[in-house]
């Protein structure tokens, strides 16, 4: 087959066995990597009801069909398993270099089962793999581990995907990093690595994507055109110029900058943590992922030196900035670095700390609980101290390491209302009260609240806008305002969710394809078809995305999730206290009606949200009736 080796590396850490499986092209066309392939494997092989931190969990690291292609933003791979945080389907995407290197090494995915008796890492090179001791790596920082593995393997071009000390300590929101600055942050997949005594997966590959493309010249032409167009397209130009930090200045005037645990939407020190403050105080230069001309990554100084861990994105600026009451961008950069040293998801970490801050200010926690720290909003010393304690599970950090949802239930006394989470995963820094489809997405997402699996409302309000015109190619019609729920709004959601799910399957970054960014729909399809020689239509591509989302849904249903879990925290159903959104409310009854309408559009039972037998047949998922 063109565009894929079809090879999956299978590693059993209990027995030490390593084998290679070859998929069929027919199967791969339906599950072309990433989220789709991971869902297929997990539904077949992971029994329901297992403890996600037990050896029974199945870990899948899957590149996408286009990962490593010479096309900007086609760099992503997905890590998937049962999440120790949500207890449901976990799926976290990352860019950087590891995914492309895995494809260059001749594999589409790595599936890891069991648990090693002692700490190990996996080394993959050009079609071969070996399990190596990681006892000397255990307890070391992510930067040290990367250096040590490269020294072990005598190759400084090896790409290392690793958990950190937080994952070793089974922090429920421990993440993974590759090249120290690209993250599979959400869902606690770092803890899954740690639970298997797996510190890292090192990859080295000498293949090149174009060598196996159906029409390498045409694929290269698409790539060159996209590279040239980055500076000519407003959206990609903005990503290259400011990264994501521009969102601070955009959210503040609309009263939707998450502030003090989502209690408010206006932050008095917003300017200090905006791009203006970032550029003045910490920014050094931009950086890229593999073969990507967008160059959206930011590099920064921390404590006066260039950090080897990269700079904070908007999510981290929000989570450790306004949402913790901190207006010092240098402290945000420090918090970001600490999270990356130990490998914690910055969103869940920041949000768990902000939850604790609110509990402290409301008198539900005292200094006796917080190891003597005056854990109030704006106390940056306490905030930074908590990050380290969480990673090492020391003192109060051992409690916070469980995530805000669990800690809330431990505290009681109404603390449950202050954990701003969906399906136990803390909300990202996009205020759903200002973007209603984002709210629907947080609620219905199989992986808990996540901003990169949902369509953001703002691009679809005007028929003449670039984003709407691109979405029209996918079937969108009838623009809708941002802060309403309606049947047409649900149709917007239904269509865009499939397209985003496709991106997460074939390896495109959120910052690549339109409508969100600058790669046109026909160029996405052109990339798929010139790589593979297929003649895939937009319709078939959307079915790939829909199939992947339905598999994740079925996974969760098996784990006992119901319609009741498709909801938002109570706070998000109440208006913000001040600002332009102070009279805007997501009405609970309207939310429920919209959810039922969305279920209907998806071909799910409108009451229960269970995919109907007809929908399963339509998607070729009849086999899911017989899975583990």
């Amino acid at each position: 087959m063109f565009g894929s080796s079809l090879k999956v590396l299978r590693v059993n850490l209990t027995t030490g066995s390593i084998a290679t499986e070859t998929l069929t092209e027919e199967l791969y066309r339906m599950y072309p990597g990433g989220k789709a392939l991971a869902g297929y494997i997990l539904l077949h092989e992971l029994p329901a009801g297992i403890d996600p931190l037990s050896p029974e969990n199945v870990l899948v690291c899957a590149a996408g069909l286009l990962t490593g292609a010479p096309v900007s933003t086609s760099t992503r791979y997905v890590v998937s398993a049962k999440s120790p945080l949500t207890l449901g389907f976990a799926q976290s995407e990352a860019g950087g270099f590891w995914g492309p290197e895995l494809k260059m090494a001749g594999f589409e995915a790595v599936v890891i089962t069991g648990k090693a008796e002692k700490p190990v890492y996996l080394s993959i090179k050009d079609g071969e793999a070996e399990i190596r001791s990681a006892e000397h790596l255990w307890g070391k920082t992510t930067a040290d581990v990367e250096k040590m593995i490269r020294a072990d393997l005598a190759d400084d071009k090896v790409r290392v995907l690793q958990t950190g000390i937080a994952g070793e300590n089974l922090v429920r929101y421990a993440g993974l990093t590759n090249d120290l600055r690209h993250f599979n942050g959400r869902g606690g997949l770092g803890a899954v690595f740690g639970s298997k005594n797996l510190r890292a997966i090192a990859v080295r590959g000498n293949g090149r994507y174009q060598q196996n493309a159906a029409d390498p010249a045409a694929l290269m032409d698409i790539g060159k055109a996209l590279a040239r167009r980055v500076k000519e397209s407003p959206i990609s130009w903005e990503l290259q110029s400011h990264g994501t930090i521009g969102l601070v200045a955009a959210f503040q005037p609309n009263g939707m900058l998450p502030t003090r645990n989502f209690q408010e939407g206006l932050f008095e020190h917003w300017e200090e943590i905006s791009w203006k403050g970032y550029e003045e105080k910490i920014f050094t230069h931009a950086r890229s992922c593999y073969a990507c001309a967008v160059k959206c990554k930011r590099e920064v100084k921390v404590d006066g030196r260039v950090s080897e861990y990269g700079g904070p994105e908007y999510e981290t600026v929000g989570a450790f900035g306004s949402n913790c009451g901190n207006g010092d961008i240098t402290i945000v950069a420090k918090a970001n670095e600490l999270c990356n040293v130990y490998m914690l998801d910055t969103i869940s970490c920041g949000m768990t700390i902000s939850f604790a801050m609110e509990c402290f200010e409301r008198g539900l926690l005292t200094k006796e609980d917080t190891d003597g720290y005056d854990l109030r909003f704006g106390n940056t010393e306490a905030m930074l101290a908590m990050i380290e304690k969480i990673a090492k599970r020391e003192g109060f950090g051992d409690i916070l390491a469980e995530g805000s949802w669990r800690v809330a239930r431990k505290i009681g006394m109404g603390a449950e209302d202050y954990s701003i989470s969906c399906k136990r995963q803390e909300l990202p820094m996009h205020e759903a009260r200002g973007k209603f489809n984002v709210g629907i997405g947080y609620a219905i997402s199989e992986i808990g609240a996540d901003h990169l699996v949902v369509p953001h409302d703002g691009g679809f309000t005007k028929a003449d806008s670039y984003q709407f015109k691109e979405a029209a190619k996918l079937g969108m019609s009838d623009p809708q305002p941002v802060t309403i729920l309606s049947p047409e709004k649900m149709r917007h959601f239904y269509l865009m969710e499939q397209w985003i799910s496709l991106e997460n399957s074939i390896g495109f970054c959120f910052f690549g394809p339109s409508p969100r960014s600058y790669i046109l729909v026909e160029e996405v399809m052109g990339s798929i078809n010139t790589a593979t020689g297929w003649n895939m239509s937009i319709e078939e591509a959307m079915r790939v995305g829909e199939r992947a989302t339905n598999m994740a849904r079925l996974f969760n249903l098996r784990e006992g999730f119901t319609r009741e879990d498709d909801t938002l925290p109570k706070r998000i159903f109440t208006a913000l206290p001040a600002g332009p959104l102070s009279e805007t409310v997501i009405d609970y009854d309207e939310f429920q009606r919209s959810l039922s309408e969305l279920y209907r559009l998806k071909g799910w039972d409108t009451e229960t949200g269970v995919p109907t037998p007809l929908k399963l047949v339509e998607l070729g998922l009849e086999w899911t009736n017989k899975t583990a």
Partner: protein, 77 residues
């Protein structure tokens, strides 16, 4: 003078792609005139803030010393 801020990808259309700049006040100047004069496509404007208040009326006139901000849709990332 009118102080103008263009946020998000709207800065792409601004003079020298600057996010903040000043333009001379002209009597009768309104928001639509500003956008048209700057070459900012109207469909790409998601938010307009005049002196700290969100407005939607493109016919709203501006005054000397006003601070006007335009933002594109704020998507995820």
């Amino acid at each position: 003078m009118i102080h103008v801020t263009v946020g998000g990808y709207l800065a792409f259309f601004a003079p020298r792609k600057k996010s903040e700049f000043e333009i001379p006040y002209v009597p009768g100047l309104n928001i639509l005139d500003l956008l048209t004069g700057l070459g900012i496509p109207i469909p790409e404007v998601a938010l307009i803030v005049l002196n700290g208040d969100v407005i939607t009326d493109l016919g709203r006139e501006v005054s000397i010393g006003d601070e006007v901000k335009f933002f594109s849709p704020s998507d995820g990332g």
